[in-house]
């Protein structure tokens, strides 16, 4: 295939499937030829997954992880979007707060685990708080920059039609910044999904992160560890796919000009 060639319809699916199959084969034969007793083969993982489904654990754990992400992430979005709009709209406020934000932002959410356990105890709240933290900063920064980057032409046009400042924010600044805010939301969701696994390894006794660490600790069930990993990957992919749908809405698609 030359780089400019349009893939045929069958090629769209065939080649990615082929790459996946190749990876599975490599995995399978590596396990087989190395005679490892610890690392599971793809078939072991398949059986492990079936066992988890059969016991009803898998669906519950996925839902538990998703629930924690939903609470922490939505809480973050609810605070960070208005906060970011405010900071973008009032440069003086951003001048005061931005250095603090930029200092807190690079701290890995994992480093917050001990602190969040002191504050919220070992349990759901600690995990949700970590997800909240990890989502908050990307969203607040994207919203702030989104507002700053609104072309002055749009603001002038809005003012020209006699909009009050509140209406100007609601009808011009927010929709104009929305594509950038969505990018921030999408990045934050990806991070939240990474963090929930770590949080569940320490703070709680359900969810996919817990499944990973518990399968290892209680009997070295590496087939279940890898099954949980694959589930984490698939769920993350599903979340991202849903988000890409949002970017296709016509009222924001103008902001993603490279993929129209």
């Amino acid at each position: 295939m030359s780089p400019s060639a349009q893939p045929m319809r069958w090629e769209k699916y065939a080649w990615p499937l082929f790459a996946g199959a190749l990876l599975l084969a490599t995995w399978y034969f590596s396990v087989k030829w190395s005679h490892t007793k610890i690392f599971p083969s793809p078939f072991d993982v398949g059986n492990g997954t079936a066992e988890l489904i059969h016991k009803g654990v898998l669906a519950n754990y996925v839902l538990d992880s998703l629930r924690r992400v939903a609470l922490g992430y939505l809480g973050a979005a609810l605070l960070a979007i208005p906060g970011g709009l405010f900071l973008g709209w009032y440069p003086a406020a951003a001048f005061v707060v931005n250095p603090t934000i930029q200092m807190l932002r690079p701290i890995s959410p994992i480093a917050w685990i001990p602190v969040s356990i002191i504050w919220f105890g070992v349990g759901d709240m600690a995990a949700i708080y970590l997800i909240f933290l990890s989502s908050f900063f990307p969203i607040v920064v994207a919203s702030m920059n989104g507002v700053r980057n609104v072309p002055s032409m749009y603001r002038r046009a809005g003012r020209n039609f006699g909009l009050s400042p509140a209406k100007l924010i609601a009808r011009v600044v927010f929709p104009a910044a929305l594509p950038q805010i969505i990018v921030g939301l999408r990045i934050a969701l990806g991070i939240a999904w990474l963090v929930v696994v770590a949080a569940e390894m320490i703070a709680v006794d359900s969810g996919l992160g817990y499944l990973v660490i518990d399968s290892r600790n209680s009997g070295k069930r590496y087939d279940l560890v890898v099954a949980a990993m694959i589930m984490i990957g698939l769920t993350g992919l599903a979340l991202d796919t849903i988000f890409r749908r949002v970017e296709k809405f016509k009222s924001v698609r103008w902001g993603f000009s490279n993929e129209s």
Partner: protein, 268 residues
């Protein structure tokens, strides 16, 4: 009333001295503070625009004619001087006077209908729908009501912006090189469209351009600006009735006069 008659009527009132002043600038000077040196952009601009008049402000790129328009629209406060519209001092933008931007001034997150209805938030739903339908028809965007700007051509976007401006029924329009980004054929069509709309709606128009032909084709009067700091060099009255024959001697005389004024020999 045809344009020819209208102009004749205007001439009449002019002779009777009744033609009212719409906009007046008094000693407008604009200095932008730069790093180190200040930049003088406008120098002592005195200009009067009459009710219903079509005035083109013509000058080289970067001379400050857009700044003049932004001050007149109330977006920028002048360093010295004052703008008066209908006898009131201008202190900010006003929905009675709408600014049409160079390009991309339409809101990409709204449909054609949403854009035209943008300034109509004080009207009832039924009135708003009626107004939107009227202006969609006026600028010939029927069938594109639900389209987003990214699905429109450059000329259609510019017509949409003009429709959005007209929908709030302003009595004055400021147009800042509105056709500058269009190809030359579309530009000619848009000029004719603008004149048709102007004839239908009778707004006072202040139109900034760097295109001499465009100015002479459109305006009642052409205000020729110098390079920065911009001063008014000359005001040329274009006394040719619409539709204008752009190969007539009078047209060519006026055009070449402005070419000379700007200091360009009219030869390529």
């Amino acid at each position: 009333m045809s344009v020819v008659q209208t102009i004749a009527a205007q001439r009449g009132t002019e002779r009777n001295g009744k033609r009212t002043t719409k906009l007046r600038t008094e000693g407008l000077t604009m200095v932008f503070k730069g790093d180190g040196a200040d930049v003088r952009v406008l120098e002592d601009i005195h200009l009067e625009v009459s009710e219903g008049e079509f005035v083109c402000v013509l000058g080289p790129s970067g001379c400050g004619k857009s700044t003049l328009l932004n001050i007149a629209a109330g977006f920028l406060p002048p360093t010295h001087g004052q703008v008066w519209i209908d006898g009131e001092a201008v202190h900010g933008p006003d929905p009675r006077r709408i600014f049409v931007f160079q390009e991309r001034g339409v809101f990409p997150w709204l449909t054609v209908e949403g854009n035209i209805g943008f300034g109509l938030f004080k009207l009832s739903k039924a009135d708003r729908a009626g107004r939107i339908a009227h202006y969609i028809k006026l600028v010939g965007l029927q069938g594109f009501e639900q389209s987003y700007p990214q699905e429109l051509s450059g000329g259609m976007k510019q017509r949409l912006e003009v429709a959005r401006a007209l929908a709030v029924n302003p009595d004055m329009l400021f147009l800042d090189e509105p056709f500058g980004a269009l190809d030359s054929i579309t530009r000619l069509i848009m000029r004719r469209e603008l004149l048709r709309i102007w004839e239908a709606e009778r707004k006072t128009i202040m139109f900034v351009t760097h295109d001499i032909e465009e100015a002479v084709q459109l305006a009642d009067r052409v205000v020729v600006m110098s390079a920065r700091p911009a001063k008014i060099q000359r005001i040329v009255e274009i006394d040719i009735p619409h539709p204008r024959d752009i190969s007539s001697n009078r047209y060519l005389d006026l055009r070449d006069g402005i070419f000379e004024q700007i200091g360009l020999a009219h030869k390529v």
